[in-house]
Symmetry: C3
Subunit: 328 residues, 3 copies
Amino acid sequence: MNRLISDSVPRRRSLTQISDLSDKEVLELVERAETYRQMEEDTRRFSDVLKDFVVATLFFEGSTRTRLSFTLAAERLGARVIDLGVSMSSVSKGESLKDTCDTVSALGADAVVVRHPNEGAPLQIASWTNLAVVNAGDGCHEHPTQALGDLFSLSSAFGGVKNLSAKRVAIVGDILHSRVARSLCSLLGRFGVSVVLVGPPDMMVDRPSALGAEFSYDLDEVVGEVDVLYLLRIQRERIRGGYNSSIESYTKRFQLDQKRYQKMPSTSIVMHPGPVNRGVELAVKVAEERSLIAEQVRNGVLMRMAVFSKILDTAWIGGQPQKGAFHG
Amino acid sequence: MNRLISDSVPRRRSLTQISDLSDKEVLELVERAETYRQMEEDTRRFSDVLKDFVVATLFFEGSTRTRLSFTLAAERLGARVIDLGVSMSSVSKGESLKDTCDTVSALGADAVVVRHPNEGAPLQIASWTNLAVVNAGDGCHEHPTQALGDLFSLSSAFGGVKNLSAKRVAIVGDILHSRVARSLCSLLGRFGVSVVLVGPPDMMVDRPSALGAEFSYDLDEVVGEVDVLYLLRIQRERIRGGYNSSIESYTKRFQLDQKRYQKMPSTSIVMHPGPVNRGVELAVKVAEERSLIAEQVRNGVLMRMAVFSKILDTAWIGGQPQKGAFHG
Amino acid sequence: MNRLISDSVPRRRSLTQISDLSDKEVLELVERAETYRQMEEDTRRFSDVLKDFVVATLFFEGSTRTRLSFTLAAERLGARVIDLGVSMSSVSKGESLKDTCDTVSALGADAVVVRHPNEGAPLQIASWTNLAVVNAGDGCHEHPTQALGDLFSLSSAFGGVKNLSAKRVAIVGDILHSRVARSLCSLLGRFGVSVVLVGPPDMMVDRPSALGAEFSYDLDEVVGEVDVLYLLRIQRERIRGGYNSSIESYTKRFQLDQKRYQKMPSTSIVMHPGPVNRGVELAVKVAEERSLIAEQVRNGVLMRMAVFSKILDTAWIGGQPQKGAFHG
């Protein structure tokens, strides 16, 4: 199902996975996010390019921070945001979900931000409706705006996307269940980043090479040679009964503690998609100096502004913003 | 308790039941909703005639889609909307409900949209406060904005309210518990529509004629001669233990399935207040071509804009909009 | 930890307790709230001095009405408000709470309104972040904006703060657990008001004099000589097992019923922070004529507007509004 649209037709498009975007479009999004950062720092003014647009959030899994990031991004561009909440999200059958989306569209929404436990649900919804659909995480599949925001953070930290070539990023944790890891691998590989996946065997994907990545079961082996250590959130309930029969054994082998932190190169940085589970994947009060974690949150909003702008603003749809159409 | 106000005094008025409105006012509302549709199609712009107004939603029964319809309608006119949510709705005693309404008014609200399981609750609230009260469904009594929106949909489908005269509308389902059916009967009868209520005996009102309607226990007898088939939502929990001891028996007799659909006149249409319970009152994938269901949702927002405009906009209060006061 | 800032540096400041404010600043806030009232009555227009600001509400204890009061106050000044809701409030450890606040700040919030069961939590948060923190009630400690709004109500009722000197205010109820009582004592004492705390021994603070107040266990002894009777909300669950083994015995001794109401001076007034527990601290239908309760709600919004304006509006930070900077 090809979500790309012809250059000449100003139709809505969706963002359900990283492969929906060309390299050129990714670079445009990073550039646009950077423009928003400048606007914010210079004038503190929000834009209203999406005035009279309505964005709906439809989260079948709770995540206040991700939902708020999308909400604030859309509102900063002047859009109204409605949260469909639990009751409209509580539909279970495919047909009902389609009816729900038809209703959301008929209520006047232009875009819907979807988080769903099932892989492919946002793509399915995009095939049913005229709404622009943004995937806010679908099962163990993808979380594209997180990866895009992180690319933006990396670009800012290293002086541009072009400087990311040959940088080494270790992603640490439950790789098997991580949609963030999947989207990151898909995105970073395109720009020459070398990714190594780190975690215990029962949390590792079967074929890391299919994600274009190396892998390791030993964080200590990797930690001294990274430019970026990207920690994933470890969910206590998931770890029980796995290879590591206890949080303690995971923590001992994969936590970024003070000792491992000191082995990292002095120019390296620490990232995490949040919320941080202090005392598990990251020790308390470690990584304060080289952490990009708060920046990732800030940049996530700016990148989501870029994404909404790209898929909803007619000045952007179909490619580059037209002359005079940019709303700076 | 007469909610009508004198023409000369610009006081707030409420909409608690269809009989609150004169025929002339109903036609004004349809016309206003049509104007909003034109504005939307032409310019995509929202109005701000209710800028600085605050509308509160107070739902003692959950309904995200109805609440959002009111919310988007008020916001499109520039109003702020606050949802009083569960905790302020969890009052149980009459005296406390009055205190709650006094608080809502003191917080600065101008109108309150109320859904309540008890018949007459919105009217009671309207007698206590200066707030404009809009009934969003009270028990088995009325749901006036749904009926008004549906009248607007019918008017659009048949080329004007005047063309509805002598049209035949069958309302099918649990008539006994349906506030939508009551408001529709009250409204459609005024404009010459012939209404027939269809459902099993235990779901039928005692005196259909008191609602100005005919009745039938047999959908097959009716389906070939309708201009409109209006299906009601069947609640699975309600049907148990009733005349029809199972969903299966209800479905067999009253579901709009492919066979019944083909017996409908080719110019007839299908309506439903939503959300559709697919596989019960309506078979999966039936009625796609002649369905007004999505239009009803869209028109519901436009009609609620007209209602808010009528009861809150000083240019409208007391009768016709004044010259030059219209906010198009 | 001194939250006051130098006059020359336009940094954010917080309001965690009454002692954060100088007498002069309190009077400024009352004057500002009065200005907002005039603006509202004259023109019904909201201000937009806080356009592009974001205020977050973080309530670890539910209170829809207080949250809405803050929300409407911020929105009337043009700010956006995001509610962090239950899930982000469900953090339990201090470190996580700090991470939550860092996230809220990174998402773009400028201020956070905090209600927390632990005394001192808002002050702790203020020490961690750059966010302006407003205490919306912390345990049994303080609820400063309630007290400031009440001072404004009293000032309006008696013709100015200067006229409050030597007025006698009785605060009645569960003094021991009341943050409202603490903030009121701290505030009213500064302006010459004589406060007497009234309640059963097991609901009385150990040292009323430390709050600058007298005390009494007998409402009947006090009620004839007050200018203001300030009733506190009695929580049924708290009263069980205490000195008064039943609601009945509390009600008998401390409820404002018709008889006690008639013993009050004819010029005296009745106040309550809401929501009123009818039939417990206040009899049904008593005090209608001399009640300031609805006014307190209205004035609470206006005072919170003044507070937001003071701590966020650069024209106000560092002291008096600058010439020409006032946003009327």
